[in-house]
C-alpha cells in the first residue's frame, strides 16, 4: 500500500513506456503481408506481425499502464481516508534543469486534489480504452490510436501530479499536443486537419497568457530576492510550488500593486480559458468533435478540458488574493460561457456538437464556482461531470457506431428499442446533467447554485436559467435520438457488448457518486471535507454550515427549473405539441444568433484573415521590397554600372581569392596607419 503512495512518480511513467513500446512496434520493419493489409484497410495479416506491432499488444500495454495508474489511485484514496487532519500532502521533487540561479524541478504532489483527479483520469481512461477496443476495432490505425491514448495519459497524469506551476505548464502543453494528435487522427479529412490545428493554436493563445503569468509571478518573486531566501531554507522545494509557495502568495501579494496581482491572476487564468473552452477561447472545442468519439469522451469532456478548473484550484490562493479583479473576472467569464454554451447547444442538430456545447456550458458552471470562491463546489462538479459526460459521449459514440457514422439527430429517432443499454444509460446521463432526482449532477450543480445565491442574486438567476436550459437541450437530444420513429436511412446495427459494458459501469457513479459524497449518506463525509481539509480550508470563502442551509433552499427550486426544462423538451420533441419551425420564426433573432454560435468564429476568421495575415503579408513584402531592395541597391551602386557584379558572378574562385587578398591588404595598411598614429 505504502509502496504505491511512495512511487507515485511511476504513474505517468507507465503510459510513457507503453507509448514508447507501441511507437517502437510501429517503427519495426514489417513483413510484406502487413504492408498489403494496410493498403486495403484491414488487418487479417496481424499474425505475421512482430509481437510489438500487434493490436492486442497495443491494447494490453495501454490499458495495463492505465490499470497500474488506477491501482495507485485507489491506494491513494486509502491514504486519503486514513488522514485524520494530520499529514495533508506528500511532495517529492527532482531537479530537471539548472541555469544560473534558476533551478527547475519536476515532482509529484499528493493531496486531496491529486487523489480526486488521479482517480477520475485513470478510472474513466480505463473504461474508455475498453470501449475503444470495440469502437476502433476495424480502424487500421488501431495501434497508433492506443499509442496516442498512452501519450495522452502520460501528459495528463504528469499534469495531475505536478508539484509546481512550471511543471504544470510543461504537461499542460503536452496534453495539448496529445489532443492535437487525436483530433487530427483521421487527418486525411480536411475538417479534422483544420480542427486539430485550430485546437492547438487557440490553446497556444491561452498558453501565451499562462506563460506570461508564470513569468511575471516568477520574475517578481525572483528579483525581489524571495526565492533566494526561501530556497536556502527549503532546498527541496521547487519554484512556484503549489504546496509550499501558493499558500504564501496571499502574504506576498501585499507588496505587489493590486493591478499587477490581478493581471497575473488573469494571465494564468487565460491558460484555463483555452483549455476549459471559456469564452472567448472556446471555439476549438466544438470543432474538436472531428476526433474519434472515445477521444471526445476522454479528453474533450471528462479530463483534459477539466484541467482548466483543476489549474484554478491549484493556484487558488493566487486568484483569491485579487478579490477585486481576478475573481470577478473569472466569475463573469464562467457565467458567460455557461450561457453561450447552453444557448448554442439548443440549436445543434449534430449529437456530438450538442454534447460539446453542453460540456462548454458545464465548464462555465465550474469556472463560475471557482470565481465565486466556491472552491469545493467547482471541483465537485468537475468530479461528477466527468463520469456522466464521459458516459453521454460514449453513448453518442455507440449511437453513431450503430448508425454507420451518422451524427445528425434529425436522421435518428426511436433508437431506444434497438440500442436499449445505450438509451438507458444516455437517459441516466441526461437526468444527471439536468440535476434531477438526486443524481450526481444534482448535488454538485446545486452546490454551485447555492454559492451563487449566497453571493449575488443576478448570478444565481442566470445560472438557474441556464440549468433549466441544460435540462431542455439535453432532453431534446434524448428525445430526438431515442424516442419517436427512426428517420434515418442507415441500417442500425446491434450494440457491441464491449462498448455497452463501460457505459453500464459509468452509469453507477453517474447516479450515485453525488449522494455518496454529499455528506448526507451512510455517514460518509462530504466531498468538500476531503478537498478543503488542510491548507485550503482557510481560503475557501464560505463556512460550510452556511452553504448547507443555502443548499436546502436552492435544491428544491433547481429541481423545479430542471423539471420545467424536461417538460418543455417533452412537449416540443416528445409530443410535438409545439412546432419547432414556429419557434424558429417567432424567435428568429435569438435563433440566428445561437445557430451561428454567437458569430465568434466569423469574427475570428475576419480578424485572422483581415488583420493578422495582412500584417504578416505586409511584413513579407516589406522584407522583400524594402530591406532586400536596399541590399541589392547597395550592391548595384558600389559596383557602378553593375558590371562588377556581373564579373563577380562568373563564380571563379580566383575572383574570390582576389577579394580576400585585397581585404587582407586593407587590413595590413589600416593596421600600419593606426600604428603610426598610435
Amino acid at each position: 500500500m505504502d509502496w504505491f503512495i511512495q512511487t507515485l512518480w511511476l504513474v505517468p511513467i507507465y503510459p510513457l513506456v507503453a507509448f514508447l513500446l507501441i511507437s517502437l512496434g510501429r517503427a519495426l520493419p514489417k513483413p510484406l503481408a502487413y504492408d498489403a493489409s494496410e493498403g486495403h484497410g484491414h488487418t487479417d495479416a496481424s499474425e505475421a506481425l512482430p509481437l510489438l506491432a500487434k493490436k492486442e499488444v497495443a491494447f494490453a500495454l495501454t490499458s495495463g499502464a492505465t490499470l497500474m495508474g488506477l491501482v495507485h489511485a485507489i491506494a491513494s484514496i486509502g491514504w486519503l481516508f486514513n488522514q485524520h487532519n494530520g499529514v495533508v500532502a506528500i511532495e517529492k521533487n527532482w531537479q530537471w534543469l539548472q541555469a544560473g540561479d534558476l533551478v527547475l524541478k519536476l515532482g509529484t504532489l499528493l493531496d486531496a486534489n491529486t487523489v480526486m483527479m488521479l482517480f477520475v483520469v485513470t478510472f474513466i481512461s480505463l473504461f474508455i480504452q475498453i470501449y475503444t477496443h470495440g469502437y476502433m476495432n476495424h480502424d487500421k490505425g488501431y495501434a497508433k490510436f492506443f499509442g496516442y491514448l498512452a501519450l495522452f495519459n502520460f501528459s495528463m497524469l504528469g499534469l495531475v501530479l505536478s508539484s509546481n506551476l512550471i511543471q504544470t505548464y510543461m504537461f499542460w502543453e503536452l496534453v495539448g499536443v496529445s489532443s492535437y494528435l487525436l483530433i487530427g487522427f483521421w487527418f486525411h479529412k480536411p475538417a479534422a486537419a483544420a480542427a486539430s490545428m485550430k485546437a492547438f493554436l487557440v490553446n497556444r493563445v491561452g498558453d501565451f497568457g499562462f506563460l506570461l503569468g508564470i513569468l511575471l509571478l516568477l520574475g517578481i518573486t525572483f528579483t525581489s530576492g524571495f526565492w533566494h531566501d526561501y530556497l536556502s531554507i527549503n532546498p527541496d522545494q521547487a519554484l512556484l510550488s503549489f504546496q509550499g509557495f501558493m499558500p504564501m502568495v496571499g502574504a506576498l501579494a501585499k507588496g505587489i500593486p493590486a493591478w499587477l496581482l490581478g493581471l497575473i491572476g488573469i494571465l494564468v487564468f487565460m491558460g484555463s480559458m483555452a483549455k476549459s473552452a471559456q469564452v472567448p477561447l472556446h471555439t476549438w472545442l466544438p470543432d474538436a468533435m472531428e476526433g474519434p468519439t472515445p477521444i471526445s469522451a476522454l479528453i474533450h469532456a471528462a479530463t483534459m478540458v477539466a484541467a482548466g478548473v483543476y489549474l484554478i484550484a491549484r493556484v487558488f490562493p493566487l486568484v483569491a488574493a485579487s478579490t477585486d479583479i481576478t475573481m470577478p473576472f473569472i466569475t463573469i467569464i464562467g457565467v458567460i460561457t455557461a450561457i453561450v454554451g447552453a444557448t448554442i447547444a439548443v440549436t445543434q442538430t449534430d449529437i456530438k456538437k450538442a454534447l460539446a456545447y453542453s460540456t462548454m456550458s458545464q465548464l462555465g458552471f465550474m469556472v463560475t464556482a471557482m470565481g465565486l470562491g466556491a472552491y469545493t463546489a467547482g471541483l465537485f462538479h468537475l468530479f461528477t461531470h466527468a463520469f456522466f459526460k464521459a458516459m453521454l459521449f460514449l453513448g453518442s459514440g455507440s449511437v453513431i457506431h450503430a448508425c454507420e457514422g451518422e451524427q445528425d439527430m434529425r436522421k435518428m429517432g426511436g433508437l431506444l428499442k434497438k440500442l436499449p443499454v445505450t438509451g438507458i444509460t444516455y437517459l441516466i446521463g441526461t437526468v444527471a446533467i439536468s440535476g434531477l432526482f438526486w443524481t450526481s449532477g444534482f448535488w454538485s450543480k446545486d452546490e454551485i447554485l447555492a454559492a451563487a445565491a449566497h453571493q449575488h442574486p443576478v448570478i444565481y438567476i442566470l445560472l438557474s436559467a441556464t440549468a433549466g436550459l441544460t435540462s431542455f437541450y439535453m432532453f431534446r437530444t434524448f428525445f430526438m435520438t431515442f424516442m419517436g420513429t427512426y428517420r434515418g436511412e442507415a441500417h442500425v446495427h446491434k450494440e457491441d457488448p464491449v462498448m455497452t459494458a463501460p457505459l453500464a459501469v459509468l452509469a453507477v457513479p453517474s447516479l450515485l457518486i453525488g449522494v455518496l459524497l454529499s455528506g448526507f449518506a451512510f455517514g460518509l463525509p462530504a466531498f468538500g471535507h476531503y478537498i478543503t481539509h488542510g491548507l485550503m480550508s482557510e481560503l475557501s470563502h464560505h463556512p460550510h454550515s452556511l452553504l448547507d442551509a443555502m443548499f436546502n433552499k436552492v435544491g428544491n427550486a433547481s429541481q423545479m427549473v430542471g423539471l420545467t426544462g424536461l417538460v418543455l423538451a417533452f412537449a416540443v420533441y416528445g409530443m410535438k405539441l409545439i412546432n419547432t419551425d414556429t419557434v424558429k420564426r417567432v424567435l428568429a433573432w435569438p435563433y440566428e444568433l445561437f445557430r451561428n454560435k454567437w458569430f465568434f468564429d466569423d469574427v475570428y476568421q475576419g480578424l485572422v484573415e483581415g488583420g493578422f495575415m495582412l500584417i504578416a503579408q505586409m511584413s513579407s513584402t516589406f522584407d522583400k521590397v524594402v530591406i532586400d531592395g536596399v541590399v541589392n541597391g547597395v550592391g548595384c551602386i558600389t559596383s557602378g554600372t553593375g558590371g562588377l557584379i556581373r564579373r563577380l558572378q562568373t563564380g571563379r574562385i580566383q575572383t574570390y581569392v582576389t577579394v580576400l587578398g585585397l581585404s587582407v591588404l586593407a587590413l595590413v595598411v589600416t593596421y600600419q596607419v593606426l600604428m603610426v598614429k598610435g
Binding site: T223, I627, I645
Partner: protein, 549 residues
C-alpha cells in the same frame, strides 16, 4: 591531450586534400559508394576525436595548444577547448556525419569535388570554434566562405549564383567591421606594451579588453566601438534583422546537406562570436547596449516569424523560422545573466539539431517532387508515414513543445528575461526613451511562441494532411539513409529534451566564465554611476565595488 586539438582541425583539411587528389574509380556507382563511405569514416573519426577531447578528461576540461607561427607579426597557431567550444565542436562533427549521409540521396554529380569542399567547410568551421588566436579565427571565418560559395554555385538550385554571391558579399561586408575591431584591439594591445609575439592570442586580448574597459587613460567609448564591430560582423552571420536577407536566398538555393550545415552550424558561428568576443571580452559595452540588443531580438523573433507565416516556399519558411529562433539567442544575451547565457548556448544546440532535421525533411520531399512550393503538396502523410512522424516531431520541437530539445532553450530564455535587471527602458539618444524593460521585451517576444506554432502547424497541415494531391500520388517514403539521419537527430531531440542537464553540464564552465565577466561589469558600472548619487551612497558603493575582484 592537447595534441589532439590541432589534429582535429587539421584532419578535415587533410581529408579535403585526399578527396581532391583521389583517383576516380571507372565504375561510377562503385566510385560514389567509395566516396560516401570514406566521407562517413572521416566524419566518424572526427566525432571520435571530438568526443575524446570533450569527455576524455571529464566534462569541462579546458585545453589549449599554442605554437608560434609568425612571431614577427604576432601570429600564433593556437587552438583550445572549453565547454562552449566542445559543445559546438561535437555538434559540428555530428552534423558533418549526418549531412554526409544526407548527401547519398541528394548529391548526384562531381562527388569528389563535393566532398573535398565539404570537408574544407567542416575544417574551417572547426577552426572557427577552436581557434585561440584572433587572427587565426579571422582566417577560418573568411576561409569558410570559399567552400560555401562553391557548394552553393555548383550544386545549388536555379538562382544559385545570385544567392551565393549575396551570401559572400554580405559576410565580407560584415567582416570589414570585424577587421576594424581586430585592428583597434591589436593596436591598443601594442600601445599598452603587451608582448608582440603573441599579439592576437585570446588570453592576451581578453586582458587587453579588460584594460580598455577599466583604464581611464583610454577613451570610454573605445570598448563600445570594438563591441559594435564584433556585433555587426556576427549579426550578419547570426543573422540579425535587417542583415538577414542573404539567409533565405542561400537556404533556398543550397542543396539539402549544405542547408543542414548552414542552419545547423554556420549560423552558430555568429552566436559563438557574439558570446566569445563581444560579450565575454566587452561585458560593459554589452551591458550598456543591451536595451538595443533586446529590441533587435524582439524584432528578430516576431517580425521574421510573421514573415514565415505567409511563405509559399517550404525552405523559405524554415529559413525565416531559423532567423526567428536566432532572435532568442539575442534576447537571452540581452537578459545579461547566467540563466541567459545558458539559454543562449542551449538554443544554439537545439536549433542546430532541429533545423538540420527540418531541412532534411523538406529536402527529402524536394528530392522526390522537385518542388518547394507548399501548394503542390497535400496528404503527404498518407504516402510517407515515416517521414511524416519525423517531421511532426521536429515541428513540435521547433514550436517549443516541452520535453523536446527546443523547449528548454526557449523557456530558459523567457525566464532569464523575467528575472533580469538588465534594463528598464530603451534610451533613444537624447530623444526620450521607449518605456520597455527587459521583461516587457521578453513578454512581447513571447508572441513568437504563438506565431511559431502557427507557421509550423499550418505547414504540417497543408503539406501532410488532407487528401493526397496529384503531385504526391507516387511519393515514396524515406529511404534507409534518410531514416538514419532523421532517427539520429530525433534521438538527440528527445534525449536532450527529457534530460537537458546533460547538455548544460557540458558547457557549464563557459557559462560561469562569461557570467563572472557580467558580474564584474555590473560592479564596474555601479562604480561609474555612483558619483551621480548621494554622497553617502557614493562612498558605500565605491567601497563595495573596490572590494570585489
Amino acid at each position: 591531450m592537447e595534441f589532439l586539438l590541432p589534429i582535429l582541425v587539421g584532419l578535415p583539411f587533410l581529408a579535403s586534400g585526399v578527396f581532391a587528389l583521389m583517383p576516380t574509380n571507372p565504375n561510377p556507382e562503385a566510385d560514389a559508394k567509395q566516396l560516401h563511405w570514406l566521407a562517413g569514416i572521416v566524419s566518424v573519426v572526427l566525432m571520435g576525436v571530438a568526443s575524446v577531447l570533450a569527455f576524455g578528461q571529464g566534462v569541462g576540461t579546458n585545453l589549449t595548444w599554442v605554437q608560434p607561427w609568425l612571431p614577427k607579426f604576432g601570429l600564433s597557431l593556437a587552438f583550445g577547448q572549453d565547454g562552449l567550444t566542445a559543445t559546438l565542436v561535437l555538434l559540428t562533427t555530428l552534423l558533418s556525419l549526418l549531412a554526409g549521409i544526407a548527401s547519398i540521396t541528394t548529391i548526384g554529380k562531381r562527388l569528389k569535388l563535393y566532398y573535398s569542399l565539404f570537408f574544407l567547410l567542416i575544417g574551417s568551421v572547426l577552426g572557427v570554434f577552436m581557434a585561440r588566436d584572433l587572427f587565426l579565427f579571422f582566417l577560418f571565418f573568411e576561409l569558410e566562405l570559399i567552400p560555401m560559395y562553391l557548394l552553393i554555385t555548383i550544386w545549388g538550385g536555379p538562382r544559385r549564383d545570385y544567392a551565393a554571391m549575396k551570401f559572400v558579399l554580405y559576410t565580407l561586408a560584415g567582416s570589414i567591421f570585424l577587421v576594424a575591431s581586430i585592428l583597434v584591439l591589436a593596436s591598443i594591445s601594442k600601445g599598452i606594451g603587451a608582448p608582440d609575439q603573441t599579439l592576437f592570442l585570446f588570453s592576451q586580448l581578453k586582458q587587453v579588453a579588460s584594460v580598455i574597459a577599466t583604464n581611464p587613460q583610454i577613451e570610454f567609448y573605445t570598448q563600445i566601438f570594438i563591441f559594435l564591430g564584433f556585433f555587426i560582423a556576427f549579426s550578419v552571420k547570426l543573422p540579425v534583422v535587417p542583415l538577414h536577407t542573404w539567409l533565405p536566398d542561400a537556404h533556398v538555393e543550397a542543396p539539402t546537406p549544405i542547408s543542414m550545415l548552414l542552419a545547423g552550424i554556420l549560423l552558430k558561428m555568429g552566436a559563438y562570436g557574439l558570446l566569445r568576443f563581444a560579450f565575454e571580452w566587452f561585458p560593459l559595452a554589452g551591458k550598456l547596449l543591451s536595451p538595443y540588443i533586446g529590441l533587435l531580438a524582439l524584432i528578430n523573433i516576431v517580425y521574421t516569424a510573421a514573415i514565415a507565416l505567409v511563405q509559399t516556399d517550404m525552405k523559405k519558411l524554415i529559413a525565416y523560422s531559423s532567423v526567428s529562433h536566432m532572435g532568442f539567442i539575442l534576447l537571452a544575451l540581452a537578459a545579461y545573466n547566467a540563466t541567459g547565457i545558458t539559454a543562449a548556448i542551449f538554443v544554439m544546440v537545439a536549433h542546430g539539431l532541429v533545423s538540420a532535421a527540418l531541412f532534411m525533411g523538406v529536402g527529402t520531399l524536394y528530392g522526390r517532387t522537385h518542388s518547394r512550393e507548399i501548394a503542390v503538396y497535400s496528404g503527404v502523410a498518407q504516402k510517407t508515414p515515416v517521414l511524416f512522424y519525423f517531421f511532426l516531431l521536429m515541428s513540435m520541437s521547433s514550436l517549443g513543445l516541452p520535453l523536446l530539445v527546443s523547449f528548454a532553450g526557449e523557456s530558459l530564455t523567457f525566464y532569464s528575461g523575467f528575472i533580469s535587471h538588465s534594463f528598464n527602458f530603451i534610451p533613444l539618444f537624447g530623444y526620450g526613451a521607449i518605456h520597455l524593460s527587459i521583461g516587457g521585451v521578453t513578454a512581447l517576444s513571447a508572441i513568437g511562441v504563438v506565431l511559431g506554432a502557427a507557421y509550423m502547424l499550418w505547414l504540417v497541415k497543408r503539406v501532410f494532411f488532407g487528401p493526397v494531391s496529384e503531385a504526391c500520388q507516387q511519393l515514396k517514403d524515406a529511404t534507409r539513409s534518410e531514416v538514419l539521419v532523421l532517427g539520429v537527430l530525433s534521438m538527440f531531440v528527445i534525449g536532450l529534451g527529457f534530460f537537458p542537464s546533460l547538455l548544460t553540464a557540458q558547457f557549464a564552465d563557459s557559462t560561469t566564465a562569461i557570467a563572472s565577466q557580467f558580474t564584474q561589469a555590473e560592479a564596474q558600472l555601479q562604480k561609474l554611476t555612483a558619483p551621480s548619487q548621494a554622497a553617502v551612497a557614493l562612498s558605500d558603493s565605491a567601497s563595495i565595488s573596490s572590494n570585489q575582484p
